[in-house]
């Protein structure tokens, strides 16, 4: 009995969705937010904040789906191949979307993607052990200049969000370190704490615990302004090095999605993320939920492309 009921419900849902007018967007079916990273990461957590308030503001469910195959390309291709109806969106930072596209052949062009809402900005941060010789950025750079390549820095994956600022900083401040790629922030943290490397590069959420108990010290941030999570840490720009390379977690639609649907999504998602409950969840998870609309996030997207092109051109 129960089984027939379920069968009926599902067939009704299918036929019902097809028959509805477009005016009902986005309430006809759940929105799928495809992430190129594994569940449990920072992108995942930020997306789930939206997902947990979606019922109220988007009139539908938002399912976060993690597909981390092929360095994120599987997720991007899935969104690209899905019907351009606004129900399948991409949420990512710039790594899989831009860096990979600039490095190798991918199935898409960068201007195929339209940023809908930037959920948050993420600041790359350099850090070291508090009991080591590198307690501020100036000393670190001086020591690195004194013996090029002797200081090792663990930085997450190759050409990832914390690695690119390190490359840029070395060019601007003219020093050289031994870059050690790791599987991500966790391993970079382990290497610094265990003394395997002298310093590390990651994002604030990775080192929050170590900063809290005083075992780590944050050297500098690669953003335009200081961040709430690390109020005492200077930016590189303050220190006189023009290295501003923040990352972002942004929701993208394919450009074939009708413009009016994008506008609806922008409006609803902005409203959802600005809601008190989303802001509260952001505060609880240490995610600085500061949504930017289509125009501002498009600007951030294009600036990032220009910056990355410049850096990657220097290393190949």
């Amino acid at each position: 009995m129960k089984l027939t009921h379920l069968f009926l419900a599902s067939t009704m849902a299918v036929t019902g969705a097809a028959g509805m007018a477009a005016a009902d967007f986005p309430s006809e079916q759940p929105i799928r937010l495809i992430s190129p990273y594994g569940a449990g990461g920072a992108v995942d957590i930020a997306s789930r904040i939206l997902s947990s308030v979606s019922g109220e503001y988007l009139d539908t469910r938002v399912d976060v789906i993690s597909i981390d195959g092929a360095g994120g390309q599987e997720a991007i291709n899935l969104v690209r191949d899905a019907p351009a109806d606004g129900y399948t969106l991409l949420v990512t930072d710039y790594g899989p979307l831009i860096t990979t596209a600039l490095q190798e052949d991918v199935s898409y062009e960068l201007d195929e993607w339209v940023p809908i809402v930037q959920i948050t900005e993420v600041s790359p941060v350099f850090f070291a052990r508090a009991d080591g010789p590198y307690t501020d950025m100036e000393t670190f750079i001086e020591l690195a200049q004194a013996d090029p390549g002797a200081i090792s820095v663990a930085h997450g994956r190759y050409l990832s969000v914390p690695h690119l600022p390190l490359i840029l900083l070395e060019q601007v401040a003219e020093f050289e370190t031994n870059h050690i790629p790791t599987t991500g922030g966790g391993q970079a943290l382990a290497f610094v704490l265990g003394g395997q490397t002298d310093a590390g590069a990651s994002v604030p959420s990775t080192i929050a615990g170590g900063i809290g108990d005083g075992s780590l010290v944050a050297l500098a941030l690669a953003t335009a302004e200081r961040v709430d999570a690390l109020p005492d840490t200077p930016t590189l720009r303050e220190l006189g090095y023009d290295v501003v390379l923040p990352a972002w977690y942004t929701i993208f639609a394919h450009r074939d999605v009708p413009a009016e649907r994008m506008a609806i999504l922008e409006e609803r998602i902005m409203e959802a993320l600005n809601s008190p409950s989303a802001q509260a969840l952001g505060g609880r998870t240490g995610t600085d939920v500061r949504p930017l609309g289509m125009e501002a996030s498009m600007e951030a997207y294009q600036t990032t492309i220009v910056n990355l092109e410049a850096i990657l051109a220097t290393i190949d």
Binding site: L3, L6, I65, L78
Partner: protein
């Protein structure tokens, strides 16, 4: 009924040794002449190269029979009829395509039922039981993969 004698087993082992050697040599040639992007820490061909050398050594030691003294000849014989290999793989492909394009409940019931019929002994065929088990499997699969752990399926024709 063909029996595999000890000699036949040795033959299989030698065959495997030759395969391993071939693979290792091709791999080493590829490491030497292939197009590898340079990278730090020994390059990204380092570990593949080590693996090929190990494979080469293992293949050689199988062929030369250096370890023969330590061999305890296997007494079990594995006979896999080709029809099972081809049938199993084809069934898998058909099953997956059917689930994606026709729908979970229908494909599972039909294909699982068909496989059960094919594998049942002729003298103990129980079509009624098979139909019941296949239907139950269809229902459970449907629940599992549309409700509990939904899989993304391109719009199926049925369900």
């Amino acid at each position: 009924m063909r029996r595999f004698s000890l000699a036949a087993w040795r033959y299989r082992e030698l065959g495997f040794g030759v395969l391993a050697l071939l693979l290792a040599v091709i791999g080493l040639l590829h490491v030497r002449y292939g197009n590898w992007r340079p990278g730090p820490g020994g390059g990204n061909w380092l570990v593949p190269m080590v693996a090929y050398w190990v494979l080469l050594a293992a293949g050689l030691s199988i062929l030369l029979g250096r370890l023969r003294a330590a061999w305890q000849p296997d007494t079990e014989r594995l006979h896999v009829p080709l029809v099972a290999v081809a049938g199993g793989l084809l069934w898998g492909v058909a099953f997956f395509l059917a689930v994606r394009h026709i729908g979970i409940a229908v494909s599972v019931t039909v294909l699982v039922g068909a496989a059960m019929l094919a594998l049942s002994p002729r003298d103990a065929l129980r079509p009624g039981l098979i139909a019941m088990v296949a239907l139950a499997a269809g229902a459970v699969f449907w629940l599992l993969f549309t409700r509990v752990a939904p899989i993304l399926v391109a719009n199926p024709i049925l369900f």
